[in-house]
């Protein structure tokens, strides 16, 4: 748990303009009250079951395991959740909270568009207006999700500043919030940003880990030896890690975007290669230059293309509880192919990073051991990028 001001050790906090402070304090109070209220908890639970399709299955990937010739690989199927990724867990929770707080306008940032779609979905269901900020580069490479959001009635605002990706979308969402703070709910999509977002988003995503722990116990009679998840801002990873953190027998691996390779400088490996700093409201690791200017991240997956990372991951790294590794674009594409051909499951490019590392890890482990892999989303949205790649013959 973070401290009262939202610090995870030396990380986290609320580094925002004063204009937003009262909104953040109000949000924290409202969230704490909602979390205690049986009506809120029941409603969320019902929605997660009847609307989002939870619990999502835990699947033993026999052919993937065979390929690794090592530990048994189990897949937590967040790709089967409504809207195609884990993002719905958080948007349902925060959407209900926004309604409780009487907010009729919701804004969000999105990278791959998965959080944008999940937000637009919940807003459509709840009948509130929705605006999504998305970098122009991401609008281009995730065009399918942009179309989905528009069909759901959301307004998608392309952001043309900076690297035109997730970082810049978040800048613009913060500018909107600072301007419209009195009537607007900022539905942040990751375990990043100012307190209470990292804690709140983690709590809403922890349903992944709670289900997986229970399902795993039933399947294997214990806990997995290792848990693997991809990390951009870090919400799906925090979601599956959280219930396992107190169990020292479970190793936790976060997989960052290696982009064109760590040596190329074009990557999103914030925890592996970044330095401590402050961006988007919290202190954490950042990709930055010697003068404290933020660097552009690079990844084939828009969702991991972010120069920051959630503060709790920084804390898990610093304390040694979790290990952070990276997988590059080419390895992620190979893993996409492997899961497609061997299991008939097409993962999102973000999740493909976790698949790639799960294979590497399982190969090094004994056959009696187990790996739990969080498949955070499905790959439909990436068909455009994959077509471009295949046509280019890579």
């Amino acid at each position: 748990m973070p401290d009262r001001e939202g610090h995870f050790g030396a990380f986290g906090g609320r580094y925002v303009a004063e204009t937003l402070m009262s909104a953040l304090i109000g949000l924290e109070t409202a969230y704490r009250a909602a979390r205690r209220a049986p009506s809120f908890r029941n409603e969320l639970q019902t929605m997660l079951r009847d609307y989002a399709g939870r619990p999502t299955p835990l699947y033993y990937a026999a052919r993937l395991t065979e390929k690794a010739r090592g530990a048994k690989i189990y897949i937590k199927r967040e790709d089967l959740a409504h809207t195609g990724s884990h993002k719905i867990n958080n948007t349902l929770g925060q959407g209900l909270l926004a309604l409780r707080m009487g907010k009729r306008r919701v804004i969000a940032e999105t990278g791959a568009g998965q959080h944008g779609v999940a937000t637009a979905t919940v807003c459509a269901k709840m009948g509130v207006s929705c605006e999504v900020y998305m970098g122009e580069e991401d609008v281009r490479r995730q065009a399918l999700n942009v179309f989905r959001m528009r069909l759901l009635g959301a307004r998608v605002n392309p952001v043309t500043s900076g690297s035109r990706t997730l970082k810049d979308a978040m800048n613009e969402a913060l500018r909107d919030w600072v301007t419209n703070v009195r009537n607007t709910y900022y539905l942040l999509g990751s375990t990043a940003g100012p307190h209470p977002y990292p804690e709140m988003v983690r709590d809403f995503q922890s349903v992944i880990g709670r289900e997986a722990a229970r399902q795993f116990r039933k399947a294997e009679g214990g806990a997995p030896a290792a848990v693997v998840a991809c990390v951009g801002g870090g919400s799906n990873a925090m979601g599956i890690f959280t219930p396992f953190i107190p169990d020292p027998g479970v190793r936790l691996y976060g997989v960052e975007a290696g982009g064109l390779g760590l040596a190329s400088g074009k990557h999103g490996a914030t925890l592996s290669r970044g330095r401590i700093g402050v961006l988007h409201g919290s202190k954490s690791y950042l990709l930055q230059d010697a003068h404290g200017q933020i660097l552009e991240a690079h990844s084939i997956s828009a969702g991991l293309d972010y120069p920051g990372v959630g503060p709790e991951h920084a804390w898990l790294k610093e304390s040694g509880r979790a290990t952070y590794v990276s997988v590059d674009d080419a390895q992620a594409l190979e893993a996409f192919d492997a899961l497609s051909r061997l299991e008939g499951i097409q993962p999102a490019l973000e999740s493909s990073h976790a698949v790639a590392y799960a294979l590497v890890l399982a190969r090094r482990m004994r056959r009696s051991e187990t790996v739990l892999l969080n498949l955070s989303g499905r790959g439909d949205k990436d068909m455009g990028i994959l077509m471009e790649r295949k046509e280019a013959g890579s």
Partner: protein
């Protein structure tokens, strides 16, 4: 007593309202930026706010965001911003507030920053994303170096919080006139006057109003219930229009003169 305290004391004694001019350090080049700063001070700015550019200025509107980009392309950094202040200090005694986002300051290293800022001639810091709750790391260091930490209050800040914020700061209290980002606006927001009056009645520090103030008329109105007005984006627009051309500082000088005379 810091130079900022002295400036407000003098203004009060002369029954004058203060003018704070904001310019982005190194926009469009370090040399041109120095000419603009000097022009503003010569034309009567009582304080200058020197903005250290940041790649992700989330509290700023398009004008200052573009200025930050120009300055960064010209190679501006915290260290070079301090050099700029040092050069300005050779010719001018006008108090200087270093404005910025926390990350470049944090990366520079807070203890070293305070020492170097002091020796360069900086009088205070205004860090836009460092609210009261996060001041523990930097503000005591600033204070012990004899530098003011200028606190900000917004229209969304409750009365109790305004008091707590004031107690933690020194120099002056920066009153953000609108819920929003920086940028030129046509009119002052409704309700601003009443709010500024309320804050000022209980204020321990002089009050400066900023965000959106773009014309002599607005500066005059804004300081009816405040001790000073901050004019930023409107000045930056003059830099944007003129760049390195010598007519730029002359135009800024005329604008600053018109602001000052309207506030008299």
């Amino acid at each position: 007593m810091t130079a900022i305290d002295a400036a407000f004391r003098r203004l009060r004694a002369e029954r004058q309202k203060g003018l704070v001019v904001y310019l982005t350090a190194g926009d469009p080049t370090p040399a041109a930026s120095l000419s603009y700063l000097r022009a503003a001070a010569d034309a009567g700015a009582d304080l200058v706010e020197v903005g250290v550019p940041f790649s992700d200025p989330t509290a700023d509107g398009p004008t200052i965001e573009a200025a930050s980009r120009r300055a960064l392309s010209a190679g501006m950094s915290v260290a070079r911003s301090l050099e700029l202040v040092r050069a300005f200090r050779k010719t001018h005694r006008t108090p200087v507030v270093l404005f910025g986002y926390y990350n470049p300051f944090f990366r520079y290293g807070i203890p070293g920053l305070c020492a170097d800022a002091r020796s360069a001639g900086v009088d205070g810091f205004l860090v836009v994303d460092l609210p009261l709750e996060e001041t523990g790391e930097a503000v005591p260091a600033m204070r012990s170096a004899g530098l003011d930490w200028i606190p900000l209050v917004a229209p969304t800040t409750g009365a109790k919080r305004v008091r707590a914020i004031q107690r933690a700061g020194s120099g002056f209290l920066y009153l953000i006139s609108v819920t929003g980002v920086t940028g030129v606006r046509e009119t002052l927001p409704r309700g601003m006057a009443a709010w500024a009056r309320d804050v000022r009645e209980t204020a321990r520090l002089p009050v400066a109003v900023g965000f959106g103030i773009s014309s002599p008329e607005m500066a005059r109105k804004a300081t009816r219930h405040a001790d000073a007005a901050v004019v930023g984006s409107a000045c930056v627009k003059i830099v944007e229009r003129n760049g390195r051309a010598p007519r730029g500082p002359a135009e800024l000088s005329r604008f600053v003169t018109s602001l000052k005379s309207a506030m008299r």
